[in-house]
Every structure is written in structure tokens, then in C-alpha cells.
């Protein structure tokens, strides 16, 4: 495919189309509709990936892979109106895969991501930004809690969607979310 043809500016009406129409058209091969979806949800997906990865290093790769997968699978998406949570689930999966691959690469014995040595609430309060602090607290959560919480709070997935994505019962989702919130709440009280 020649690459230059994709660089036409997005016509303004398309930008106002609903997710359903954009997803349907992109599924049919409308690249401009796809571009609008990329612009609409790409930034949130980038933030999501960077939070899971703990850095921006591999964010571009992960988000790009996610959109390529999305483009390939869009024709199979039945409810175009749900394209946002569908995209977020893809980026969630790709980000987690990347972290796992990285971990295996480093050392199989280091079971969890190496936590920074200086990790007291006091340090968190001094962290460059609240986002940084939150990212660190999140990094300390058990993986299932963290994924649950992010799918809920960043991706705005329903309990049912989270359960399907993580292949766990809805009741487990409920419990994981509550535990994640409790921990985050306690941490937040300390760096407030």
C-alpha cells in the first residue's frame, strides 16, 4: 500500500460521527473513519499503555500493535457502539503481554517487577507528580487487582466486560476492585 494516500486531513464531518458509524465504516475498509477512531481513542490508549508499562518507552509500539490488531478484527466486531471498551481491552492485553515478555526476558527468578527501593509514603508525596505517585502505588498492587482497576477506571469497561477479558467470574471482579480501591484509598490518604 502506498503510504502517502493516508495522510489526507480528516474531513470535519467524519469527526462528529458516532462510534457505531465509524466502527462500521472502518470495518468495511474506510481508512478515514479508522483514522478518526485512532485520534479519538489513541491518546487514552497511549496513557493506558504507559501506565501498565511504567514508562513511555514501548508505548508507541504497543499502541501501534493494538490498532493494527483492531483494524484486522474490526469486521468481526458486532456492536460498533462498544468500540471504545473493545479498543481498551486490546491495548490492555497487548500491554500486559509486553510486561510479561519483558519480565521473562530479564530474569525468570525476579517474580515481580522490581520495586524502587525508596517506596515510603513520604517518598511518594515528594514524587514529581501525582500521576507518578499513583503509577507507583498501582505498580505495587497485585497484577489481577491492577488490571481490574485499570479496566474499570481507565477503560470504563463494565463488570461483565472485565470478567470476560480476565476470564474470571463477575463476583471475583467485584472483590478485586474493592481490594484495589481500599489499598489505593489508604495510600492516597497518606500522600494527600
Amino acid at each position: 500500500m502506498p503510504t502517502t494516500s493516508t495522510r489526507e486531513p480528516v474531513a470535519s464531518p467524519l469527526e462528529s460521527f458516532t462510534d457505531q458509524i465509524l466502527a462500521d465504516r472502518a470495518g468495511d475498509g474506510d481508512m478515514r473513519a479508522f483514522e478518526v477512531l485512532v485520534r479519538r481513542y489513541g491518546p487514552l490508549m497511549r496513557v493506558y499503555a504507559s501506565r501498565v508499562l511504567g514508562s513511555n518507552d514501548e508505548m508507541d509500539d504497543v499502541v501501534q500493535e493494538s490498532f493494527i490488531t483492531a483494524w484486522q478484527q474490526l469486521p468481526t466486531l458486532e456492536n460498533g457502539a462498544a468500540v471504545k471498551s473493545w479498543l481498551m481491552r486490546i491495548v490492555s492485553r497487548k500491554s500486559v503481554d509486553r510486561v510479561r515478555a519483558r519480565r521473562q526476558h530479564v530474569n525468570i527468578d525476579l517474580t515481580d517487577a522490581p520495586a524502587p527501593a525508596q517506596h515510603s509514603p513520604h517518598r511518594l508525596a515528594e514524587a514529581g507528580s501525582q500521576t507518578e505517585a499513583l503509577t507507583r502505588v498501582l505498580a505495587d498492587l497485585p497484577e489481577d487487582q491492577r488490571r481490574c482497576w485499570m479496566l474499570r477506571e481507565l477503560a470504563e469497561c463494565s463488570y461483565g466486560e472485565i470478567a470476560e477479558e480476565l476470564e474470571i467470574p463477575v463476583s471475583t471482579v467485584r472483590g478485586l476492585l474493592a481490594r484495589a480501591r481500599k489499598t489505593l484509598l489508604q495510600e492516597m490518604e497518606e500522600w494527600r
Binding site: M1, T6, F17, R25, D28, V47, V63, I68, E153, L185
Partner: protein, 195 residues
Amino acid sequence: MTSSDALAGHTFEELSDYLDRDRTPADPSIDGSPECQTALSGMQRLRRTHRDLLLKDVQLEAEREDSWVTSILQHISLEARAGRDIPISHPSPTARVSVTEGAVRGILRAAGDSVPNIIVGRCRLDGDVTAPGAPVTVRVDATVLQGEIIASLADQLRDALYAALRQHTELAVESVDITIRDLYQIPVPAGESEQ
């Protein structure tokens, strides 16, 4: 805060779930308990803080130069959507000309976009499009601007689609079925005064 006694007999999990249900249906035993209210407002504060940070970060990402968008679009291929080859006759017996199903869908979308106040969504070509002269049914989903007369817009759209198909293909179109899936409203452009 760990024991459920301190939460008027409710668990933290129940409160977390209650929050996610937007506090509906209202539970007086939660709404009337100061302990529960404290826990709920904490969770809400956590959510608000997080949403603020998230919005800020997403905004920053949205404002970045968009080489990442270009890069993504360069890596996707229309070939994935080509579909079947639809033959087109040619005076020379040795020439074989065809147009892809994906291209025909593009033609249908473009024709649809020329009709104001109606937006074409999914397009389907039902029938053996690879066999010249075989009957084909075209199925199109569309969305109509709220307040417009649906039947008249559907007619205009059908005419436009027929014309485009006649001009660009030799398909034996038996019917063009249009399904109006939804209505849309004129979007108010953010920060612009033209509307």
C-alpha cells in the same frame, strides 16, 4: 474500616459495587450511615483525583505531534478489506478487468456521503458478485439526521447508490435495501461559534 461492623453491616466490597452502580437503587442503610458515607466519599475522591490526572494526561497526549497516528496508518492495509473480485467487461478478449468488493463499498460510501443529512454505515453485497449478471442485493445501514423525513432521505440515498453502481460496476442489482439504524443530531463544535 476493615470490619464490616464499622460500615453499618456492609462490606467495603458492597460499597464499591454500590458506587459503580451509581448508587441505584438507593439503599437507605448505606445512604443513612455516616461511616458508609465516609468510605464512599473517599472512593469518589480517589476516582475524581484519578480522572483529573487521566484527563490531563490524555489531553497532553492529544496535543502531541501526531507522527504516531501517521505511523499507525502506514501499517494498516486496505488489502485486508478487498473482499471478492467483481468482473468488469472489456472490449479486448485478452484483458481481464475487475474491481474489488472493498472498492465498491467505498463507492457506495462516497455516493452516500453526497446525500446530505444521511450517513452510510455498513454496506453489504449479497449474491455471487464474481459471476457476471448474477443477481445482487445491496444492503446498507444508514443514520439519519433527527427531524428529517426518513422515507424521502432513504429514496434519495437509494437513487444515489443505484446511480453510482450503474456508473462504476456492471452488477445486476436486484434491490438496494436500506436500514435506518439510528438518528443523529447536529454536533455542536466545541469552541466554535459557527453554529
